[in-house]
Amino acid sequence: MKCMYINNDGAGFADYIEIPEGTTVAQLFAQRVPGGQPSDYLIRVNRQPAVADQVLEAGDRISFTPTKIEGACPA
């Protein structure tokens, strides 16, 4: 099935991907962000926060976007 997938890693990605039926959010994360920490990303499905075992459906829009973007001036 086809899902829209958005991620800023590597060359950046914002396109449709083909994934097997029954794929969960956690499985997609492991596949797409090998070695990545889920806590470093906000994971949303159809613009809503997603849980790890959520099963994806055809046409879903999944985004892994960065979290805790923080700046400070030197002390």
Partner: protein, 189 residues
């Protein structure tokens, strides 16, 4: 960007929207929701995700909106802090390339390109304004609104003063965000 740096007493930050043909050429600066103090700026995670969705809906590629992280410093130093370095490594370390740009209130600028393709590496790049590019007229009201809409103040301000909107900018400071442009001297290839 200069206006947003100076409009409040807090740091501010956002993403540079770059030209698809010249990925280090920043054409616009977009703020996301953020919690700021005089010396820190933290983006709201949901707002970052929303920003990505909006930009993609507008037909842009992540490499043209999610790679140039810009924030201000209140003093004269634009040198990155440990917090800045930690964010840059953690958040942008998995992208093929990214730029951390810092604009100090005193006028100093800092920009570093980090790339992770091939052997990887990092280099400081000069920041220049390209005056040959057309830019929109200054719109203080809209920019002020952008600040008010996006910045939530956190922590005590230096000297305990309240924000005061500066209304008399010197002509040289009277720049649009289109004018604060990052350019490299093609040193990355």
């Amino acid at each position: 960007m200069l206006f947003l740096r100076d409009v409040g007493s807090t740091e501010v930050g956002g993403f540079g929207l770059t030209n698809p043909q010249d990925l280090l050429f920043v054409e616009d600066f977009v703020m996301v929701q953020q919690v700021c103090s005089a010396v820190t700026v933290a983006f709201d995670d949901d707002s970052v995700a929303e920003f990505f969705d909006q930009q993609i809906d507008a037909g842009r590629r992540p490499e043209t909106f999610g790679r140039v992280w810009i924030h201000s410093h209140p003093g004269t130093s634009a040198e990155p802090s440990n917090v800045d370095e930690e964010t840059f490594a953690r958040v942008f370390g998995r992208s093929d390339w990214a730029v951390m740009a810092i604009l100090a209130r005193g006028g100093q600028t800092y920009a570093r390109l980090q790339y992770h393709v091939g052997p990887g590496g990092s280099l400081q790049i000069p920041v220049a304004v390209d005056w040959s590019q057309p830019f929109e007229a200054t719109d203080w009201t809209a920019w002020q609104q952008e600040y008010v809409d996006n910045v939530r103040r956190d922590g005590p301000l230096r000297g305990g003063t309240f924000d005061k909107i500066r209304t008399s900018h010197a002509v040289t400071e009277f720049l649009t965000d289109h004018e604060w442009l990052l350019q490299t001297e093609k040193g990355m290839s």
